[in-house]
Each structure stands twice: as C-alpha cells, then as structure tokens.
Amino acid sequence: MASLATIFGSGAMTNSIKEIEGMEVIFTIGSNTKETHPVIANRMLKAIRKGARLIVADPRKVPLVKFAEIFLRLRPGTDVALLNGIAHVILKEGLQNDEFITERTERLEGLKKSIEAFTPEAASKITGVPKEDIIKAALLYGGSRRAGIFYTMGITQHTHGTDNVNAIANLALLTGNIGRESTGINPLRGQNNVQGACDAGCLPNVYPGYQRVDMPMVKNRFQEAWKATLSDKEGLKSTEMIKSAAEGKLKALYIMGENPLITDPNIGHTTKALENLDFLLVQDIFLTETAALADVVLPATCFAEKNGTFINTERKVQLVRKAVEPPGEAREDMRIISELSVRLGYPMNYSSSEAAFEELGNLWPALAGISYSRIRSEGIHWPCPTKDHPGTDYLYKAGFPRGRVSFSAVEYIPPAELADDEYPFVLTTGRNLFQYHSGSMTRRVAPIEAHAGEPYVEISAEDASRLGIRDGLMIRVKSRRGQIGLKALITGRVSEGLLFIPMHYKEAAANVLTSDALDPYAKTPEFKVCAVKIEKINSYEEVL
C-alpha cells in the first residue's frame, strides 16, 4: 500500500464500497474478491446486475471469473507485462483521456517509451494471455470513464509488487479513471484494521497520519504532544525485524496480536529468528505458535470485549463495541500497554478508548472531525477534518495532494524464483473462503473446522493425471526451504504447472515453502510465486 501512497499521496482505496454499484467497468487483478472480500464481491455482483462489465485477471480461475466478461489468466508474476500491454493498446487506440493527462499528470513520454515494446503479441508471450483478450480488456477498460480497478495481495506480494502498483496507476492516469465518483484505484485490505493500524502510525517511517519521522518539524510536533524525546531514525519493517533478529542485532520483540511464525515467509527462518531473541513478549488472545516461543505471554481481549474503532478498507471509521466480559484475567490491550508504559517510566493514562481516539484526531487532521458520537450508527470515511464535514467517499476530487502525478515507466522483471527442472511447479499462496489468516480465530470455530479444516494443495487435472495423483491423495510439496504434506485437490482453478496452497493451516503451513525474497521498496515478501516440486507419499505416517 506504501507504493500507492508514493504515487498519489495516500495508500487507501480511492472509492467507497457503495460506489462500486455505479461502476461501468470493474477490473480486478490479483484479487480473489469472492473469497477474501465476499461482501465487496456482493457489491460487484449488484453492479453487474445493473449492467457493469467485469474483467478478472488472475493466474487462478477464481470464483469471480464466473461473472466476468473477460478473464485474463496470466502466468504468476507477469502482471507488469499484462498491464503494460493494456496501456499499450489504450494509447494505440487513442482511448487515453488527453484532458486529464494534460491537466493532472506528467511524464507521459517516459511511459510511452517504456510500453512501446509491450504490443499485445509481446505481452501475450510473457503472460500467456491470448492477445485478443488483452485487446478486449484494454478496449473495455480504456473505453470507459467510470471504471474501477481492484487489487489485493496478488499484486503486492511480489518482489516487484511496487512495479505492479505503478503499472496499475498508469492505467487509471491514462484514462482519467480516478478522482471521480465510481471510478478509481482500490486496494482491498485483507484484515479488518490494516488501514487503521497504518493510519494510527504502526509503520516504521511515519507517525500517525503518515507524518514522516525523519522530518524535524513533524518530530517536534509529536515530541511536544507526547512529551517525550523521539528518534528521527526510520525504524525496521516487520520483515526486516525478523532478519535483524536472526542476525542477532534485534534483541527484544514485543508482539501484539500477531502470529508471524505462520504468516511470515520461510517459517524455518522465522522460528530461528524468534528463538534468537533475548526477550520475546507476546500479547494475544490465544497461545499462538508465536506466543509459544515467548518469554512472557499476556492475555488480551478480542474485538467483542472492548470498545474502540476500526478503519475498514474504504477509509471508514467504524465503532467497535464491547459485548462481553473478557475471560479470566484477560485485559484490554490499551490497559496492558499503558501499565507496561508506566513501568518503563512513561506514564499513559486514558480514561477511555475515546480519549485515545481524540488524541489521535488531534494529531491527524483527517480524523479530526470524527467522534464516537458521530459514528454511532454509521461510520465516516476520512478525510473528515471538521465536526461538520460529512467525510469523503472518494479521494482526489479536487486534485492530487502533490499537484501533478507522474506516470511511472515500469519494466517487466520476472519473479525472483522461477520453476526449473528440479522444482518444476510454481506455487502461489493465499486464502480460502472459510479460514482467516493464520487461523487463530477461525480454526477454533467448530463449523468452519468441520467444513474446511484440512489443508490441501490445488493441482490441475492435467498435472495430477500425469503424476498419477488421485483427488484427496496425500502428497508432499517441497521447495528449497522446506516441505509439507497435504491432500491434493484436483481442480480447474489452477492451470497446468501451477499449485495453490492456502496459508491458514499450521500443520501444513504454506510458509514453510515460500521464499523470503522481498520487494526492494515495500519489503513485502513474494508469497505469490515460488518454485516447488511434488512427490507422492506412501503412508500417512511419513507425513508426520
């Protein structure tokens, strides 16, 4: 999301979810929306019922494809080539929005040069998508002035994730499909409050509200507000912290409500890193795999046991209300942090979560106009600078914060690890409909476990029959980093040569296999592409 912020000034969805209904063309890329954001997919279906047309780009035949007019089944990691190819056709057919380009963008020439080579034929060769479909998609998206692009981790979890986002932005800028109602760029957030965690400043380079730590003016303002001395050195990103711990530089880690052991790439590496720490403090609601490695574990509360706010993927601040008392002696996270802080000599004293929210609003104008009482029945989209501001459904109505926005010349770079003779399959990972993330919540829900409690690897019928694998057979998937055993699920969702493993199952954790190669800018790991091989297993015991 950081890359989108670099381009436009903010890394959030530019439209609100309601606006999907008014879209003429919906273009999803690298997003299994029907499974990962089912209720947003419902809106898309509503739009389609009203006549919207859908383009889906994904290496997998994800459920949303059923509703698509055009399905671009690209090879994993070739998004840039596809997007550049589409941009090429848009320009060639003269579908660009010249007025928008002149008034609000710069460096079109650079883009033109960079996509010159990406003829539909060339793009087709790299992506495996028929060139006719690339042209059709370009005509459809480029021909509309009310089109929205949606993406998720299928775009960002690559070594070239930033490039992917830039290439998406290029399309919107070429056609002027941004800054108006029902048209824009919409990264869909995978977790309930990723947006809020970013907004609240849980990022190593910025304070709350994306205010840079390395800008003295900003730092001074926060020092004054917090009455503390602050560092102006940019901190480590989460993936860097793990690396640093492994190297012995990072000595202590305080983890609140996270399970990096399962969710980070290359589990073997993560385990070693965490074990290498002098002190690991984990605050969570369950004794997760990560918590099991901790020196101290603090019992926290879940969403139903506290008051507060979440900010969803469309920048909407919504209330969270306490419904039940926490189990045993478990305490609200805010209270735990405050008490720890007091003991470290920095007193924190909040009478309520609302007091903390108000303090945050004082430090970031985008939230300044929002109060608990205003969002009692319906949330408000930031920016909402004043108490009488209605909130902002779509961004950049009045232009981009930085004036003109640049096109980015994006070169196609293949994924870090490609299939080869030894590891002939490409593995991609992600979520399924029923489980959630590391599974610490959903795997404790009986009906979900009964229905979707078993790990599996999706494999094409062609590969399965070539290797003599029956549906439901236990197989071993191996990468250069590790191996897991799980059941084969023969499905048309994946094409020949591609495997998919959902990330949720610790007993066959996909991240044992994934590569810890990172995007050089965003430091996002390449979960979506790594090379693996598969072997048949003779007995179940062998797996264990």
């Binding site: 419902n42 279906l45 965690a197 990096p260 229905h451």
Partner: protein, 347 residues
C-alpha cells in the same frame, strides 16, 4: 414522479416503484411474507394483495408498478378475508411448533398468525414431512417450516451469485433444496438465513442458546477481512450466541461465512486467561499481572540500556483497534524510544 392515491392518502413516487413501496413510503402497512426490499419481487405469498380501481381482481402490490393517478385500497373486508384464508392455508402445511422453534418471537409468519387471529384451521390436511436433515455444519434447514417464499433462492442467486439452492419439484411437493437433495455445500454466507421469514433456516449454532427476549444485542464491526461489515452480536449470559447484520447498515445485512458463523472463538476454552511466564525448563507457568508486567518491563529496560532502544522492535496488529495501535506505536516511540514498529500490512 408519479402521483398515487393509497387509502385516500396522496403520494408521489419514482417511476418504476411498486404499489407496496409507495404504500410503505406513505406509512401504510401491507402484510407480506415473500417480499424482501433487497430482492426481486416474487409475488407468491399473495398476502400483499390490494384492490386497484379499474382492475377487476386483487393484485399483488409487491409486483405491480404504480401508474399515474392509480387509486389503491389496501384493506377491505374482502381483502382481509382472502389474507386470512391464505395464512390459514400456509399454516395448514406448517408444523406450528412455535414453542420449540428457534425463531419464535422473531418470525414473520408467527407475527401474522397472531395479527390475523388464526387459531382453528379450517383447512387441516396433509402436511409435508421430511425425515432427512441437512448435515452441513452451518445452517439448519427445516424444510417443513419452509413457506416457499423464495427469498433464500433469490438471495443465493442475486446477492451471492451462487445458486446453491433452487426450487425443486412442483405443486404441493415443491421444495427448496440443493441439487439432488444432497446436504448443502456452498459458500455458507448465510444470506438465506438472514432473509428467511420463518424458522425454516437458522444457524446450527443458535440451537437452544436462548430466547430472543433475554438476548442483548450489540452493534459492532466484523473482526475479519477489511470490508468492515456491520454486525450485531447477540449476547446471553456473557456469551455471544448469534451474529446477525442489520439490513439498514451499509452492507445491507449481507455477511460471509466467517462474519456470520465464525464467532465461537470468542468464548473458546483455549482463550488465554492469565499472564504466563516461561520457566527455565521451557514450560509456561501462570503468573499474576503484576509479576508478569514487572518482569517484562524489567527485561525491556535492561535490553534498552544495554543495546539501545533500536535493539527492540514492536509488531502491532491489524486486528486490534485504532486506539490499541495508536497506544502501541506511542509506547514504542515514546516509552522505548525507537521507530521499530510495524504491523502485518504486507502479509
């Protein structure tokens, strides 16, 4: 705008609006069972029939578009008599076991039977009996209670795009079921449960968890994906026993399997109940808050003093609230003195 006169009240509605919509706008109640404002009209229950000047027979208000100058009467002795007959017919093919029904007190059919005073049934006769129960883990499907209003079929098709169920057979034997009457195997979004006006569709987990009257409802926000659907937690004796979503909310009452059925982790026996400190041997022991916090603070202080604040990192959570996250980063920055703070946005 189109002018319409309903029960003597004048109103103006948008072109394409139905008589039912116009009546509701004018606060004129018309009973319905199969109508749902978010779904296409069905016209099967026949309760919303009205008389329209110039049309010889009663018509369903949910399917009839308003035309200019239309004069509508929503209630006459004849209409109410027809409605009562229709209700009696429905109830003649219904188990009428409200005393045991999960939806008692929250059931449109029950409400209407009460309102129309249907006690004796003139039309008692054969009733549909289904021995086989649906074995799916999420949704209880008691098809004997189904009144074939078609809302679930519509929701599954129009809202969810799945069409896991459809009408099957015909006439009195009509039944809404998955293909070949297998157990339901779908996305389990529960949209069908949300729109069912009777006790035919309920959550399996709701069973015997408590009556509506002593359940507390708390509106909050779903803890799963970034969509942030509005949900309502139903709480009884400090336990979340059901999750629903309000039709009036921005997500129109639609949820996914996780949001609707994935709540039992809250009361899981595996929840952490006390602080834990790892012993030298490797195992955890329970500790008091004071001990645990003192110990943690001591260790952090030592490390900070020995290796500097940048030797400490903090990972916060995309599942915690803004307030939790704000405090966490403030703690890392102000109390520890490092910018080593991040969360899992990339994962």
């Amino acid at each position: 705008m189109i002018k319409v006169l309903i029960d003597g009240k004048a109103g103006a509605v948008k072109e394409g609006a139905t008589v039912l919509e116009a009546a509701r706008m004018l606060n004129i109640p018309i009973p319905t069972l199969c109508h749902h404002p978010k779904l296409s009209p069905f016209g099967g229950c026949r309760l919303c029939i009205v008389e329209i000047k110039g049309i010889p027979r009663p018509v369903t208000s949910c399917t009839t578009p308003v035309t200019e100058g239309m004069e509508v009467t929503t209630s006459t002795p004849a209409l109410e008599d027809l409605r009562k007959t229709v209700l009696e017919l429905i109830l003649s093919d219904h188990p009428n076991d409200c005393m045991l029904c999960e939806r008692a007190g929250d059931c449109t059919l029950q409400e209407l039977a009460y309102f129309y005073d249907v006690k004796e049934n003139r039309f008692a006769g054969e009733r549909r009996i289904y021995e086989k129960k649906d074995g799916n883990p999420f949704i209880e499907r008691d098809m004997e209670k189904c009144i074939l209003c078609g809302r679930c079929v519509n929701a599954c098709e129009e809202i969810q795009g799945v069409s896991a169920i459809d009408f099957a057979y015909r006439g009195f034997k009509s039944k809404i079921c998955p293909p070949y009457e297998h157990d339901l195997n779908c996305e389990f979004c529960g949209q069908c449960v949300a729109v069912c006006p009777t006790g035919a569709l309920t959550g399996k987990g709701w069973s015997h968890k408590g009556r509506q009257k002593d359940i507390k409802e708390v509106d909050t926000t779903c803890p799963y994906c970034g969509t942030g659907c509005g949900i309502t937690l139903h709480v009884k004796r400090n336990e979340v026993v059901r999750v629903t979503s309000k039709e009036s909310g921005w997500n129109e009452g639609w949820l996914c399997a996780k949001g609707r059925f994935g709540y039992s982790f809250i009361g899981s026996p595996e929840r952490l109940r006390t602080p834990l400190i790892k012993e030298a041997a490797g195992g955890f022991r329970e500790a008091s808050w004071d001990e645990a916090l003192e110990y943690a603070a001591k260790r952090l202080k030592e490390i900070k003093e020995k290796h500097g604040p940048d030797s400490i990192g903090g990972l916060s959570s995309a599942r915690c609230t803004n307030e939790d996250n704000y405090l966490f980063q403030k703690f890392m920055r102000a109390a520890i003195g490092t910018n080593n703070v991040d969360h899992c946005a990339r994962l």
